[in-house]
């Protein structure tokens, strides 16, 4: 059995707002409003796209804050059946909670036990699946959920991307020199690294027809280096071509590309090379959301999908915050002005720490 898979609803709690509509409103005016907040590591400070409100004070506070964010993220979906399967994506799970505990720490035996706690908060008692593959965790959760809907195993799925405050991830990225000390500048000549962010994002996938259909989703591995893909972008290009073939579409059918574009000095050019390989001189309009939302790592795939569709449903393509000066090496320019051009099909690209690549195509179903 192969059934169509629809994106039936979304919720999002992130630096730009606590509902998809609020996020869309923020993104509509985001140029010049880079993600606010800061994260301190010793004497170093980095911009950080935190959820609204103060950062957690201790381990209990971390959990309360996580529960509140999860509840806010699913609230727009209304009452969910308790048995709806949960597909949970994160790169850090509850490590922020562990950080706040005094040593010696007693980690639970099952590394993803946090997911059971989240399900309890949300009143979900169905099957749970967890995905942790760095920045493409969310897309892989969507892919797995979609596969089960397509083959008739399930009719609905809740995909929840969750990336919450922790210093371990930030310190790890900082230690490898991957964080920007100033701002996220996607595809910009002066880009100097990532800005991390928090997000909890909910996406309801369903076999029941809804406004957007998942036309294709796939992921791949490019182990050129632990932190980035092959510079010529060939592996990314191959994945994009696979997705287009799966969706039975041509490059010219794509109306908009949501870039990964995290502001990385090395990964942004690789992504641009891949796009040139696939789209040549007929490049669709480009946008990146990380200048506004920060990079929510394991939640980013779900969060950026929900945020983008909220904007498109509101009738506009969001401008790219942080892009100012074109880079001759990249020679592609994401849009910096809000546009009301019609968008029927969107390609969403993702690049992950550890060599993960992901791509999705969504299209209006009506």
């Amino acid at each position: 059995m192969t059934r169509a898979v629809y994106l039936a609803g979304g919720g999002l709690c992130c630096a730009a707002g606590s509902t998809p509509a609020a996020v869309a409103e923020t993104l509509a005016d985001s140029p010049g409003r880079p993600a606010a907040g800061a994260l301190s590591l010793g004497e170093r400070r980095f911009p950080y796209a935190a959820l609204p409100g103060p950062l957690p004070l201790d381990a209990d506070d971390w959990l309360k804050r996580a529960e509140a964010a999860c509840r806010r993220a699913v609230a727009p979906l209304g009452e969910l059946p308790g048995e709806v399967p949960l597909f949970f994506a994160s790169s850090s799970f509850q490590i922020g909670h562990f950080e706040a505990q005094p040593a010696p720490r007693d980690l639970p035996p099952a590394c993803a036990s946090f997911v059971g706690r989240v399900a309890g908060w949300l009143g979900l008692n169905g099957v749970r699946h967890s995905f942790s593959n760095a920045c493409i965790s969310g897309q892989q959760a969507i892919q797995a959920a979609a596969a089960q809907i397509a083959d008739g195993s399930i009719d609905d799925a809740l995909v929840l991307g969750c990336e919450l405050y922790n210093r371990s991830t930030a310190a790890g990225f900082a230690g490898m020199g991957l964080l920007s000390p100033t701002a996220c500048r996607p595809f910009d000549r002066d880009r100097d690294g990532l800005v991390l962010g928090e997000a909890v994002a909910a996406l309801q996938l369903s076999a029941r027809p809804a406004g957007w259909r998942l036309a294709a989703v796939d992921s791949a591995l490019d182990a050129f280096s632990p932190t980035g893909p092959t510079p010529d972008g060939s592996r990314i290009a191959a994945l994009l071509a696979t997705c287009l073939a799966e969706a039975v579409l041509l490059p010219a059918d794509i109306d908009l590309i949501k870039l990964h574009a995290a502001g990385s000095p090395t990964n942004d050019p690789a992504e641009a090379n891949a796009l040139r390989t696939v789209f040549g001189n007929a490049m669709p309009p480009l946008c990146s959301l990380k200048g506004s939302l920060g990079h929510a790592l394991g939640a980013s795939g779900v969060a950026e999908t929900v945020a983008l569709l909220a904007c498109l449903d509101a009738g506009f393509v969001p401008p790219t915050a942080g892009f100012v000066t074109p880079d001759p090496e990249i020679s592609l320019q994401p849009a910096v002005d809000r546009s009301r051009r019609p968008v029927r099909r969107v390609l969403l690209n993702g690049i992950g720490f550890g060599g993960g690549l992901a791509a999705m195509i969504v299209e209006r179903s009506a």
Binding site: A110, F114, Q148, G175, P226
Partner: protein
Amino acid sequence: MIDLALFHQTLAPAALGDEVRALLGKPLRRASLFAQLAACGAWRLIPAERRGWPTALLWQSTSGPRGETLTLLDEMDGAGEPMPFDFLAAQPAIAAAQLQPLLPGLTHSLHCPLDRCDAADWSLLLGLAVDRLTGGKSRQVLCAHLDAWDDRLIAHWLLLSAEPLENPAWRLHLQEQPPVATSGLPDTPDLPARLSAAPQARLTLATAQPAPRTLEFVRCPTHIGN
């Protein structure tokens, strides 16, 4: 029809380096524990001539990188920034990237951490594996459950191939009908070991949710070692 090979091992943590050297002929310097464990399984199950075939690695873990995570947290308590190597070792996503140079055909990786000790997600992994094989996205798929506890390393492996294996232990049939609720192997981490020890000729995998199709394991009568 999909051929299956299986393998399972339990090692003392201190024995992993010797196991890697014995199999690969060299140590895997700076490779995470999971990457080394994965290399051992991949090397045992995939013949040299198949290591360049488009391959997917779908793996799950109950323990996760437990020791590395504790090390990372201890480092955060001290100087406030972890050593990059310790941070990388605590990231499960890195394992596949470190494995790919040894397994050039590895083009896809998925990692599922588990939230319970008494249950696994083989039904999800095998379903995704069958989709990849029947859809032509991979020629072979490695499915694994890998755990790294303080006193032991545990690896359970299934290799699925849509092309005949030389000496398959079982074949996987996909039946377009719901599984019988009262029978079937439980979806637990040690599924390959249970398969290996099972006297039956046919077995199904119990699923945690109603399913429209059944994954049935059929023993290969000529398998050497059964």
